[in-house]
Structures are given as C-alpha cells and as structure tokens.
Amino acid sequence: MTETAPATRTPAALAALVPVLRDICGEDGVLTDASRRRTYESDGLTHHRSVPGVVVLPTTAEQVAAVVRLCSDRGVPFVPRGAGTGLSAGALPHAEGVLVVTSRMRRIIEIDVDNECAVVEPGVANLDVTRAAAPHGYYYAPDPSSQQVCSVGGNVAENSGGAHCLKYGFTVNHVRGLDIVTPSGELVSLGGRSPDAPGYDLIGAFVGSEGTLGIATRITVNLTRAPQKTVTLLSAFTSMDAGGRAVSSVIAAGVLPSAMEMMDALAIEAAEKAVACDYPQGAAAVLVVELDGPAAEVDAQLAEVVRLCGEAGSFETRTASGPEERARIWKGRKSAFAAVGRISPAYIVQDGVVPRTALPEVLRRITELSESSGIRVANVFHAGDGNLHPLVLFDDTEPGAADRAEEVSGAILDLCIEHGGSITGEHGVGVDKACKMPRMYGPDDLATFDLFRRSFDPDGIANPDKLLPTPRLCGERPGVRRGVHPLVESGRADQF
C-alpha cells in the first residue's frame, strides 16, 4: 500500500515552479491548495494514495508541452491523469511532482465520416466518441466497462480493451494518429488521418505505455461501422467443463463472436440474489455469447453456436436480438461483480490471462486452491480470450483472512504465469503490479523495456515508479479492496 501523509504544503522545489505554471495554465489552471490537491490523491484503485505536489489543468497541447518542458528543465517528475478511473494506480500522483490532468481537454475536434475516424482531445470520454459518431452509423469499438467516464487519453495510456475486444481488438488497434508531448516537452505529431505512418511504429509502442513516454494531446481514432445485426445468446450448463467444451467447439468451428463470457455457480448465485437475473435454474455455468455483423452471417453463426452449445451439454439456451432483451441477458453478467460484493464483506479482483486451452485446468486448480485455503473464489471471465477475473472473497473482520485471500489471489496469478499467460489482460501494471513484472519477464526483457523507456525519457521524470519494478516500490504488500466495487452495479456497469 502506498500512502503518503497528507501533504499540507507544496514541496519547496515545486513552489518555485508555481508562478511559471500559472503563467502557462492561468490562475485557475494550477492547484496548490492542500485540500484541493488531496482530491487527486488516487485514481480508481484507492488503496494506493499520494497527494500530488501540484496539480495543473491545461486546456491546450501547448500548455501541456510548456508544463512538461518546465518539469524537464527542472528535473521535476510529472504524472499524467485522465478521468482517474484506472485500476492499477497508473495515475498515482507523485508527492514531489506535477500532476497533469487532461480533464479540461475534452473537445471532439472532428468526426470525419469520409475518413472513418474521429479526432479528439485526450480528456474526451470514450463513450462520447461513440455518441458523436452514432448519428452517422458509426461507433468507437473499444468499450472498457467504465466507458462513460474513462477518457480516450487514459485508454491510450492503458491500451484499454472491453467485453468486445475478442473480435474488435484493443485501443492500439484503433489509434491512427497521436500528437504527444514527450518527456522533454516537445510536441510531436505521429500519424494522423492516414494510417500506416512511415518509420518505426511509435504509435503502437506509445499506446499502452501507461504515461511513461509522455502525454497524448490529440488522438485520431478509427470509427467502426455499426453492425447490421447483433444477437446475444445465453446458454446454461451443469458443469464448468461442459461450458468450457462449448467455448472450445465454438472457436474450433471457426466462429468469432464479438464477446464470449462465462460465470460459475457462485457468481450466478450472487447475481440471482442481487438482480434476479432469472438465469436457468440449476446452472453450474452460464455462457453469454454475442454475435454481430451482416444479418445473414449472424443468423448462420447463431444456428451453429446454438447447435454447438447443445452438443456440449447445454440444458437451456436463450437468444435475444432486441436491445432490451439483450440487456436482460447481460444484466446478470454485468451485475455479477457488485453481486459478489454483496455476499462478501470484502474481496479482491484479480486480472490475469491464460491461454484459452488452459482454462479448464486453471479453473480446476483455482477450485483446489479455494478448497485447500477455505477462501471462496467466484469466477466471472472473458472465456473467449482467457482473461480471468477471479473474485477472492473474504471477511475482513476475521483475523488473517485478508492475508490468506491475498495469498490465493497471488497464487492465481502464478497459475496464469505458469500456463504461459499474463499478469494483466486489461487493468495494466501501474504501481499495483510493477513488482510482479519480474515473474513474467526475465531481467533482460525488463532491461530492454527500460532501454526503450529511457530513449523517450532519459531523466526518468515521466510517471516514475510505474510499469517497471523499482526497489523502492517492491517488497510492499499489495492492497486489498473492500466492499462492492462500483465499476459494476445494478447491471449498468460491469467489471472485468
């Protein structure tokens, strides 16, 4: 847990910067008052906290560049922040640094239908791009669960995905152009309306760099044509293995759903209690499959998926194509996390990835872990791409329970690594998992990451202590989240 005592004063080194920052961002664009700065002490992962030395709220790329140049000249660290919804403490402020918040840069500069792209400032909310594109029959494909809040700039930093990334990919697959402010304060344009920018694919490497390579100030994203038809299917099984077989056979049959989600018995039970989602009685596993595309293709695939679910042992399959019916199917899935929060006083959400073929084995091992430790684990996950979100449930009033839950949660990540997976599928590394990076990558791999980072940021001032392990950070125990996480409740939001 990273937590600094509430800073009452801006550190002296920063105080000297404040007048210059005010010249750059204007009086109301610089926050030095302690109580104001404190409201920025964490992002969506609140057990990591640190009060920023000073907060700036630039409104233009030039202001961002000037602020960063000043930081670079004075050797002061800076941390970029969008909407502050991240789940890996990637926007954790630096106590002696400048927090650069893009929340006032939220113009949709253009919806360019002819070129099928949108040009936006980094503070624009993900869903607002889709809202602006929708009248033209387009949408912005990456759909992280916090999409109504999270900013496109933050999505770029985290390479955000979403439930539908199985078919449509992540942010990196949809960014065509970036204006960035480098850690030395230069404003550089990469790509634009024309895809395939010449030279090294810096856009590809910048997306997902968690704010360690600079700040995106203008983003050109692809717009995707809204599909002609979307169908959602719910299939119930008497065992997780049977559900897993259905997933495998759908994939083997050459069907690529836009989303394929699975819940186990504990998760279903919780969802029923919370939102009465009315999933088939006696289901030990449910599979939610969404298909989209040209109507004729969707119809053909739907018949195939229904048949395959039946062959895998499904005892009931429902399909829905209207928005309301589809929402009813998704309701249980989307509320699962909140529901689990209601049946347990505290829980840890893990985010790990395993190869899809390893899913049955890993799920069995998770069950064993749960049984041997006495800690309950509910499983809600993206079956299509092997992204697990085990919920490790415990009672934080019971002595030692948090530690045992933390052990189980860590052991699940070990399982992911052991099976050739990843320590994070979508939440990012940030501060939260920086210390776990050496479990996934060797020293040479990490050193190479660091070489790359330093090619952008030789002085190490851009979002320091994130993404890569540092001695200062590591060795501390990662924290535990209590209560219902809000990315998910009441069926409107979901958490992955």
């Binding site: 926050l31 008052d33 109580s35 104001r36 404190r38 409201t39 920025y40 002490e41 964490s42 992002d43 969506g44 609140t46 709220l57 909407a83 502050g84 919804t85 918040v101 929340s103 006032r104 939220r106 503070g123 909310a125 607002d128 916090s146 109504q148 809040v149 999270c150 909140a338 989240r481 209560g483 219902v484 996480h485 809000p486 990315l487 998910v488 409740e489 009441s490 409107r492 939001a493």
Partner: protein
C-alpha cells in the same frame, strides 16, 4: 394527539452515519460526466467524487476550510450523481448534512449573507413573490423590503423575470385562486391534496389551474388547502435546516387535516423535497414522533405525472399537433427517479411528438436559487441547455419544474432563439379540453 418529546438524535450518531455514507464511495468516477460543475470546470473538487473527498477531509479532520465551502457551494444539488452512482452513494443526504454544517459553522462574508437573507425572505412566500410580477413589478421593486433592495437581488432576478414576462405574460387580473375543493368530473377515483407551491403559485398560476383541472377530469376530488405554505425545499437545499423543518411541519399538519389519499405535486423541486420530510426533520433534530408523522406524509407525496400514469387515463385525449422537447427537471429525474411517466403521458396525446435533449441528464443551471447565488455558472449551464433545446428543432419545451422553465426560457432569449416553454400539466390540460396549439401556447 399525544406527542412525547424524545431527545433529538445525538449529533455524534448523525456524524457516524455520515461517515458510513462517505465510505460507500469507492472513487470510480461514474458520477463525473453528468455533474454540471464537472461539465463546466473539469476539476476534481467540483465533481461529486471530489466533493465527497472534501467531505471526508472535513469529517475525519473536523475542519471546514474556506476552500471546501466554496466547492460545496458550487454544487447545484441536481442529484445527477445519485442517478449515475453504481454504488448507491447517498450524495443527497451527504450534501444536505454538509450544507447544514456549513451554515452552522461557517461565517460568510457580509455581502453574501445579505444576499442569502434577501432570497430567503422572498422566495418561500408566494404573496411577496407575486409582487415581483408584471404591472406590479415597479411597485414591487420599490415596495420591496430594504433588505431585498440592498442585496442586489433585484438585479440578479430581473433577467429571469423579464424572460418570464415574455413567455408567460401576466394576466390583467390574476386567475382566481383555486377553490378549496375541485370536485371530480364523473365518478371520483381518488381524493388528492394538491400543493400550490411558491414559485409555481406566484409565477405560473395557470399551471396550477391546469393541474387541478386535469386531476378533476381524470376523476379526482382535488383538495387545495388554503393555509399551505412553502415546502421548505429552497431553504433545505441551502443548509437552512431549521427554516426548512418549520415549513415542513406546517405542510405535514395542513395535509394531515385534509385527509387525502395522495398529495400531488407539480413542481419537481417541491416533490423531491417532500418525499423525504422525515430526513429533513431528523436533520433538524426533530423528535421521533414528528419524524414518523413526516414519513407518513412523505409516503403520500407523488408527482403529478407518476400519479396520472398509475391512475391510468380515463378522459379523452384530443390531438395536439406539436413538436415538443421534454426536459428532465433534475429533481424529477434524479431526485425522484421519474423519467418515463411524463414521456408516457405526452406520448399518449395524439399528434404530439416528443424529442429528447442531448445530455438530458445534465442540469439546466436553475437548481432552486442557484441561479441567484452563482449567476455565472448558472448562465453558462443555461446557455448549454438552450443550445441543446435548439438542436432538437422542437417548437415547445415541456418541463415539470417552474425554475427550469424560467432558466431555459431566459437562456434562449439571450441567444435569440425563442421557444415556447410550458408545463406537462398544461399540455395535458390542452389535450383533455381539446384546445388548439395556438391556445396552448398563447399565440
């Protein structure tokens, strides 16, 4: 009735409840996009998530800084954050408690104190408000109390009044006050009380007339107690809990005496407040018996639209060929969770087309007396809403709250895009009576 004087809930217990409510927030940020001040200024301290953080600072460290008060004051109390919160954080209770503490502990600068004093000497009183209108305006201005004149309130209020003169010209003689009982047309299906309201009653008496007529035509005996006063919402939203509680007590007594099944309200802000009179009294330290009486009363309070939808239509709807845009008053949609009922009623009128506004969750900036206290922010929000209304191309804007009507009409006046503004009750009334569009819009 025998009432025991129970000791009021101890402040320490209330503090603990406050602390627990604060802990419900897990910082996800889902409240940000619909918060009007976040829309305006894009900074954490002027978002619900940031304000809750400031409340936590206030609560855990027991200090109330000038800075924090400023950000609490900036909150419009529109409650959009309550609608968007996946964790069910009771921001309404949080901000009300916080405002009470601010009013108790914080010494405001003199000018601000005078302005607030003037507002609350004027608004909760229908008769004083009526003096501000039309031919009486000049007289009203000169005749107003010296407090009102000194405060600068008249300057702040006059643009809205001027707009109102144009959208709802005062009748040469004000409509006669509603009789104490408007009998049902045909067999009575319910006996309801009706709130007249201060702003509604003073500035939009025709809305009240329409409301009573619609209720009667739908088969209700409508009781309109003469002695009813303000519901106390404006005071309560500004942290004046004692004043608010006094108004609440009076209404509880008045409507207890009226012996009605339901208390129908046509003003969103009043309805929202009246639905939690128990909390208002508890916050002001009332005893348990009073809190119980208030809770019983609150249980009877319904918005006109939800009541009519529940009741089901009986009177014939005549066609009204008109393109309208419906504006969700915050205290109807966020405060009471009512969004479908008014749309359903309007959709039931043949020939009437209803458009939604873009960003319909975001407040228009009226927010009780906010437009008087924070005119700049309110104006900017009003201008945004005006642009959104214009973007629909509708000929009339329908809303369920008098403050919103004034705010949006004056914003559209400023932008030179005049639009007729009217109340759901008047549209229904016109349809039930078979009036023409021109008659409805006074053209």
């Amino acid at each position: 009735m025998h009432v025991t004087d129970q000791p009021p809930e101890a402040p320490r217990e209330r503090d603990q409840v406050f602390g627990d409510l604060l802990n419900d927030c897990v910082h996800c940020g889902f409240c940000l996009p619909t918060c009007p001040t976040n829309v305006l200024w894009g900074q954490e301290m002027d978002s619900p998530r940031g304000r809750i953080h400031l409340m936590t600072q206030m609560h855990t460290e027991d200090v109330l800084t000038e800075t924090a008060v400023g950000h609490f004051d900036n909150c419009l109390g529109c409650l959009a954050c309550v609608s968007s919160c996946p964790s069910g954080v009771a921001y309404d209770a949080l901000i009300e408690h916080t405002r009470n503490r601010v009013e108790r502990e914080h010494e405001r600068p003199r000018g601000e104190r005078v302005l607030r004093g003037a507002i609350f000497s004027l608004f909760p009183y229908r008769r004083r408000l009526r003096l501000m209108r039309g031919p009486l305006r000049a007289y009203g201005a000169t005749g107003a109390s010296s407090l009102v004149r000194r405060s600068g309130l008249l300057e702040r209020i006059s643009p809205a009044l001027a707009a109102m003169e144009r959208i709802a010209p005062p009748l040469s003689s004000p409509p006669p006050p509603l009789p104490p009982l408007v009998p049902a047309v045909g067999r009575a299906r319910a006996r309801v009380g009706m709130l007249v309201g201060c702003v509604q009653g003073a500035f939009f008496p025709e809305v009240n007339t329409a409301t009573a007529r619609v209720l009667a035509m739908e088969g209700c005996d409508v009781v309109v107690p003469r002695t009813q006063g303000c519901c106390g919402a404006l005071s309560g939203h500004s942290g004046r809990s004692e004043e608010s509680a006094a108004f609440a007590r009076r209404l509880v007594e008045v409507f207890e005496r009226a012996r009605v099944d339901r208390v129908v309200v046509n003003s969103a802000g009043c309805g929202s407040s009246m639905k939690h009179f128990d909390r208002t009294l508890a916050e002001a330290g009332a005893d348990d018996a009073w809190v119980r009486r208030a809770r019983d009363m609150s249980a009877k309070v319904v918005d006109l639209t939800e009541f009519l939808v529940d009741l089901g239509p009986r009177a014939e709807r005549h066609p009204l060929p008109l393109h309208t845009a419906y504006h969700d008053a915050c205290h109807l949609s966020h405060g009471q969770g009512i969004t479908q009922a008014p749309r359903a009623l309007l959709a039931g009128i043949p020939g009437l087309r209803v458009s939604d506004l873009p960003d319909k969750e975001v407040c228009c900036g009226s927010a009780g007396v906010y437009n008087l206290l924070k005119p700049d922010a309110a104006r900017e929000l009003g201008d945004r809403k005006g642009r959104d209304v214009a973007s629909t191309g509708a000929d009339a804007l329908v809303s369920g709250n008098p403050g919103c009507a004034l705010q949006i009409a004056s914003a559209m006046e400023r932008a030179g895009r005049r639009v007729a503004v009217t109340h759901t009750a008047r549209v229904l009334d016109a349809s039930l009576r078979g009036l023409t569009v021109d008659q409805l819009l006074g053209r």
